[in-house]
Symmetry: C2
Subunit: 117 residues, 2 copies
């Protein structure tokens, strides 16, 4: 069976620590120790998160034995956005409906206010 990369990408993004790691790597490549510094979790926990990110293709690691810096690989995000963009019409419609509802509410309030005058 073909690897379902889109599912791996979404699963990797479904965690605030992993998203924070990606935000850190967006500023430049970094060692595991540097990545771990701002977090209150153990180094093995960070390493686990990095493995999930690496498996999804969202990060890659250098090959130097001593210092294996992590870097962001944003290509899988493009696929995620491409998938989501098919639904743009739907979320824009729902915001239009909300807007329409709020306008209707304002109209009703104005009518009520006038009635009280």
């Amino acid at each position: 069976m073909e690897t379902d990369y889109l599912s791996l990408t979404f699963a990797a993004l479904a965690d605030p620590t992993r998203r924070a790691i990606l935000a850190r790597l967006a500023m430049g490549e970094s060692s595991v120790t540097e990545i771990a510094r701002p977090f209150k979790i153990s180094l093995p926990a960070i390493t686990k998160h990095l493995k999930v990110l690496e498996r999804s293709g969202l990060i890659a690691r250098g090959r130097e034995a001593q210092w294996r810096p992590c870097r962001l690989e944003a290509k899988p995000m493009k696929e995620a956005v491409d998938w989501l963009e098919h639904y743009r019409r739907h979320w824009e419609e729902s915001f239009d409906r909300l807007d329409e509802y709020l306008k209707e509410l304002q109209r009703t309030e104005k009518i009520k206010a006038k009635g009280k005058l």
Copy 2:
């Protein structure tokens, strides 16, 4: 603690069956039986998927006791896209780099070909 809706959304999207259900609901609201029809999995399994989608806010269910149709609620997808869009520069850069590499490859091949003439 505030509910981390972005994580719930990404987790809900990290499954091909759930993404197929969303694609189905993009065509219009639908009953659970109708949703389940094209899938080779049990009705309880479908119900489980629907619960994950409902919890993330990606679908909503009608209140009629007998027929509780599901409908797509695409707003959480907008938040997901908004988050991903911060990284657009990165994936565009990586495609530019690939493009540059392929052009370089073509140039080298041409030089080699000329050398053979």
